[in-house]
């Protein structure tokens, strides 16, 4: 069994409620931080832990915190990003639904460290029932003296508010989230200024993902150095993986980032293999935006070594032969799945979710969907494949926010690794409507050239 820091108590009945959560050691980190540490010491522990943003970008959390501006007389805010909208990702939902107090506890410690007296949880609008769960947890925490005025007699005041979004993937981008929190369309802002200087209502703001903030609890309890000992290299601590698609046991798993992708998929402790005795064809390992990999490159790197489930392992080989850990949204496709069709649904998703500010993204996502629709429905031309490549390459890097890249990468990777499947659709317009291309050579052993 791997180390569990976040989900250790998830199976305990009633852990959603204060009494049980407290009985199992809940809110110890708040006591420790507020009673025995300075705000700078809390930031220092998070820096030492090596904790990287769990929303997808993987930026070091302690460093992000240390950037917050502290102008005299201007309030600062911590905002929790609970907009979880990256296809394949449902780990924050799990945390909030089953361990709401873990998030609230992490938020109190983090608010203390950053000096945020009004902290906001921005949650995607569709998670409507979770709003009630969080608000109940906040009320319980407040009734027990963990929130409100003068927490634990320290003079520190803090309130946590929950705000619902209303259906927009783009609001997971931190500046779009801030715009939305201000009651506007979710159009990302041009940076700089960064939120740490000018964020919510023009005030210094830190935006962190749910899982990142929950991880602050074990970091304070065990100390940053101890936390950093779990995992390998720059992948410290544990990571929640939400596994879905054609798996025997889809669900949310906590891993300590030392296991191999193969063990994660096939061992009974985790996903238990591919559903219905099928074979693995492809996988998008870190949420829909990251490159899709064929089975052979997913399980092994181009050098023929076992691929490890962590930041460095999944990105080994760069985009040429690797992918990314991203948000931990692990989407598995079996031998019966069509990569062209899967790519089409993702292209449609990004076209639907583009905010429309930047023309490469607004226009390009629509063109890509249209071309993929034609190829999928037996009306594609060979030149369409190159056209798709050309469009995605002109979106990438040419937009205000990363949605452009997020829309381009899945298409680039699908063509890079599955070009023959696209060509088969073009060359066999009728047959492709009746059957799938199948597993083809995508699980074959990779040839590793031997260099003298």
């Amino acid at each position: 069994m791997g180390v569990k820091l976040l989900l250790e108590n998830a199976h305990i009945e009633g852990i959603r409620f204060y009494e049980t959560y407290r009985k199992h050691g809940g809110y110890r980190s708040v006591e420790k931080a507020i009673k025995t540490m300075s705000t700078d010491e809390v930031v220092e522990e998070v820096k030492k832990s090596g904790l990287r943003g769990r929303g997808g970008a993987g930026f070091p959390a302690g460093m992000k915190w240390s950037f917050i501006a502290k102008p005299e007389g201007v309030p600062r805010h911590l905002v929790c990003n609970a907009d979880e909208s990256e296809p394949g990702t449902f780990k924050d939902r799990y945390l909030m639904e089953f361990l709401p107090h873990l998030l609230i506890e992490g938020l109190i410690v983090s608010s203390f460290a950053l000096g945020s007296h009004d902290t906001y949880i921005y949650i995607r609008g569709e998670y409507a029932w979770i709003v009630d769960i969080l608000e109940q947890a906040i009320t319980e925490a407040k009734n027990n003296g963990w929130l409100g005025k003068n927490i634990l007699g320290s003079g520190f005041d803090c309130e946590i508010h929950v705000q619902r979004g209303a259906g927009a993937y783009i609001c997971g981008e931190e500046t779009a989230l801030i715009e939305s929190l201000e009651g506007k369309r979710g159009n990302p802002r041009i940076k700089p200024p960064f939120p740490a200087v000018k964020g919510l209502w023009g005030r210094p703001t830190v935006v962190n993902n749910v899982e990142t903030l929950a991880a602050v609890v074990p970091i304070i309890n065990m100390g940053g150095e101890e936390y950093a000992k779990i995992g390998v290299g720059r992948s410290t601590g544990t990571k929640l993986i939400s596994a879905c698609g054609n798996l025997r046991k889809p669900g949310v798993y906590e891993i300590d980032m030392t296991i191999s992708v193969e063990d994660f998929i096939y061992s009974d402790e985790y996903c238990g293999g591919i559903a219905n005795g099928k074979k693995l064809k492809a996988c998008i390992p870190g949420g829909s935006s990251v490159p899709i990999l064929p089975a052979n490159l997913l399980l092994n790197t181009a050098k023929g070594e076992k691929r490890i489930m962590n930041y460095e392992g999944l990105s080994d080989g760069g985009f040429a032969t690797g992918s990314m850990l991203g948000s931990g949204g692990f989407i598995v496709l079996d031998e019966d799945q069509c990569v062209v069709k899967n790519t089409l649904t993702l292209a449609r998703f990004y076209r639907h979710e583009s905010c429309g500010q930047c023309s490469p993204c607004r226009e390009g996502t629509g063109w890509m969907e249209k071309i993929l629709h034609n190829i999928e429905h037996g009306k594609g031309k060979m030149s369409d494949i190159d056209l798709l490549w050309d469009i995605q390459s002109k979106i990438e890097g040419n937009t205000i926010c990363p949605l452009g890249d997020a829309a381009a990468w899945p298409i680039a990777a699908a063509i890079r690794h599955f070009r023959d499947e696209f060509e088969w659709h073009v060359l066999n317009p009728e047959e492709s409507q009746k059957r799938n291309y199948g597993l083809a050579h995508y699980a074959d052993k990779i040839h590793v050239p031997v260099t003298a």
Partner: protein
């Protein structure tokens, strides 16, 4: 329907507004639109949006531009029960196409349409964060997951029963 919050709704509206600094009460716009949509028939008419603008002391255009941006706000009337079926990648590989097809046949409506009795609207939506429990749909405040044809039958039946009781 007269567009005015009753006392309970108004109390909730005040609670929402109070979460933000006095000078930034526009921040309550999205939560206020959710409240208005729930209170006034499941959609936002221009009258409803103007009412919200007035309550928040902002221009109607500020409300329209937000209401048109977010997919959860309905700008046309919808049926009493809105079936929002996810059809993005992870749900697609788990068979969401079959579920959408089955609902279409069962209710004789296409995505975006409402049944003649005004009970059901079918909508296909993009990823709702339930990928491990696919196929799925949102129905009101909750998710219905691991959908099968039998489950769809049961949900439709449940809705019809509830509608009959409430009439």
């Amino acid at each position: 329907m007269s567009i005015k919050f009753n006392d309970t709704q108004m109390a909730e509206f005040k609670r929402l507004v109070d979460r933000y600094p006095q000078e930034y009460q526009k921040s309550a716009l999205i939560p206020a639109l959710h409240l208005a949509q729930e209170s006034f028939g499941g959609w936002l008419s221009s009258e409803t949006m103007d009412y919200v603008a007035e309550l928040l002391s902002i221009k109607p255009i500020e409300v329209y531009e937000v209401a048109t941006f977010y997919s959860m706000f309905n700008l046309k009337p919808v049926g009493k029960y809105l079936f929002e079926v996810c059809h993005t990648g992870p749900c697609m590989v788990s068979g969401s196409d079959n579920i959408v097809q089955y609902i279409q046949e069962k209710l004789s409506i296409k995505p975006g349409e409402t049944t003649a009795d005004g009970l059901f609207t079918l909508k296909t939506v993009e990823c709702l964060g339930a990928c491990g429990y696919a196929p799925m749909m949102q129905l009101g405040k909750h998710y219905r997951e691991h959908l099968t044809k039998e489950k769809v039958d049961a949900i439709v039946e449940e809705c019809r029963k509830n509608a009959a009781i409430n009439n």
